[in-house]
Symmetry: C2
DNA sequence: CTGAAAGCGCTAACAA
DNA sequence: TTGTTAGCGCTTTCAG
């Protein structure tokens, strides 16, 4: 009894029509006499009638419910991204009339997707088991923000490779040739793609990737600090660092300053995420903005299409990023002031 | 047809029992022969049967679905708080077996709470209309993070007053007497309570609240900047500022430094929120941590109780905060180094 | 411990 | 344009 206790029959009685007619006005079926429609509407209002959604769905046989699975302990998937994601998912859900069932999970156990016809995985990292299960159950699913090449599942991700290539191109244009990187987790496609983008971009320009140029972090500032120290203490110090996350970029800046280096005069730093800390760090961070909300919207659209029965083949898409220039990069030939 | 297309009848046939028995094992009814239970479970697995949640709920007449309403454009309700809230709501929902229907809304229109038996409002600010509607419809609702004294609705909020009183006490213990505040929006209970806490604490200690000591901001850094400038440029400059948000506190610090003041040597600053920027600001910020996730958990519990029919009277609770000491405050009698 | 049968509240043919 | 009549897929008395 999701509603109060008013049934459709009572509304029908009050409006002096059949339940069918009430159902019709409820579902905006045009073939209803205007007078009747008005009386029904009035009765609904007066009786505070709210249809029982379960009965509706059962009878109609349709189900526009999607489960949104998000990790309980968002690690790399930062909270500001979650908000963007929610905005995107929410907007699309609204527009496409889909209901969202929220599942905050620790990755263990299976999402209680009882009522859901499909599943939206936000950041599959740590939820692989659940994805497997969904796939095996044949539940239409889509994973957001991660490009799963080999799995027969739809996904919408950010074009990480192109993003980093773009960053390197930007640094090169500023005159940098000694460019190092601090990677994210390399067990996720995101981390791999960002590293790959760096490698490809360097190679394309015949720039040498010295061994110490690639430092393996895990997105956290804590992981980046010692890496930055090692990198910057090296006799063959790079003039620019591209980090796979803003947090790591900030750690690089902090470490550099502690070591007496100036940013951006002695060292250019680029982050990834365009998170709030990018604006608030000691040196406003030049970083990569990601279309978090668009990825989410697109995902809902695709899954909706899948549920409507159009195609059964997985859809895989990538969305573009944007470089946000702030103050952590500098041309190499400028006289350091 | 949320599930594939397997019906309970097919499972029953495969397991050579009645649908009733299948239903029993589905619902963990103990009175089922072990052999039968095993066969049913096997059949379920083999046929990949997933019960139709709508039919279940309709037949059983129960409804443990809560709509979670969150604003699309989270302003004061910062994203890191959203994550905490989701964690809390998710945890409680899991534990209490409630389904969460997510509604990301722009405040206009009414939440499509069709399937929901109750509503959780996260940050009612901007959603007053929707709350009114819910109340009028008699839908059990609870508002989180805002204490609505006069409305007949349950709410769980942070004890803002006590929190700020505690901050003032802390500053006084450090020797401060000239303590100013930058408030948040005063059209929300949160902003009012924080200001009130400040006023009460000052009064209780017979400390004068000079007119310019109370500056009205709106939680954003942008709003605080000019206020901070005015406050610090005043001939009768305070030695400490308590801001109603971390963003504003950071703005105060930045402004102070731009004006040649040192923090905390010349000015102590306390924030509110314990947001990520509190750690990353130029001077690590002493601030108030809020039990965001606990508020959410408690809210779900209370609403659940309400739905289970226990009490009909609104429940109103406040949860305590904690002062997180970092490096933006200093004893007044210390020799400024 | 098990099954037959009667709905849960609504929608959707099908006739009228 | 309207109402009658079957169900949607599951749970739940109530006998057995």
């Amino acid at each position: 009894m999701s509603a109060g206790k008013t049934r459709i029959a009572e509304v029908a009685r009050a409006a002096k029509v059949s339940t069918t007619t009430v159902s019709r006005v409820l579902n905006n079926v045009p073939t209803v006499d205007e007078a009747n429609r008005r009386r029904v509407l009035a009765a609904i209002k007066r009786l505070r009638y709210r249809p029982n959604a379960n009965a509706q769905r059962l009878a109609a046989g349709r189900n526009n419910t999607m489960a949104l699975v998000i990790p309980r302990f968002a690690d790399m998937f930062r909270s500001f991204h979650v908000m963007e994601m929610l905005k995107g998912v929410g907007t699309a859900a609204d527009r496409l009339h889909v209901d969202l069932l929220l599942h905050v999970t620790d990755g263990r156990g299976f999402p209680n997707v009882g009522a859901a016809a499909g599943i939206l995985f936000a950041d599959i990292d740590g939820n692989e088991e659940q994805l497997d299960w969904a796939l095996q159950q044949g539940i239409p699913s889509i994973v957001m923000y991660q490009f799963l090449e080999d799995l027969p599942v739809s996904c919408v991700a950010v074009d990480n490779r192109a993003a980093v290539e773009n960053v390197v191109a930007y640094l090169v244009k500023l005159g940098h040739r000694e460019i190092a990187t601090i990677t994210g987790h390399l067990r996720t496609s995101i981390g791999i793609e960002r590293l790959d983008g760096y490698l490809k971009a360097m190679q394309a320009r015949q720039l040498e990737v010295k061994p110490h140029y690639v430092q393996h972090g895990d997105y956290t500032g804590a992981s980046a600090r010692p890496l930055a120290k090692r990198l910057l203490a090296h006799e063959d110090r790079p003039t620019a660092v591209v980090a796979a996350s803003d947090e790591m970029a900030v750690a690089v800046i902090d470490t550099a300053m502690e070591m007496g280096l100036r940013v951006p005069e002695d060292l250019s730093v680029v982050g990834f995420d365009d998170s709030p800390i990018a604006k608030f760090s000691k040196v406003p961070l030049t970083t990569v903005w990601q279309p978090m909300s668009d990825v989410a919207e697109r995902s809902v659209e695709i899954l909706r299409g899948r549920l409507s029965g159009s195609s059964r083949r997985p859809v895989k898409e990538r969305l573009g990023t944007r470089l946000v220039e702030r103050q952590s990069c500098r041309q190499t030939w400028l006289d350091p002031s």
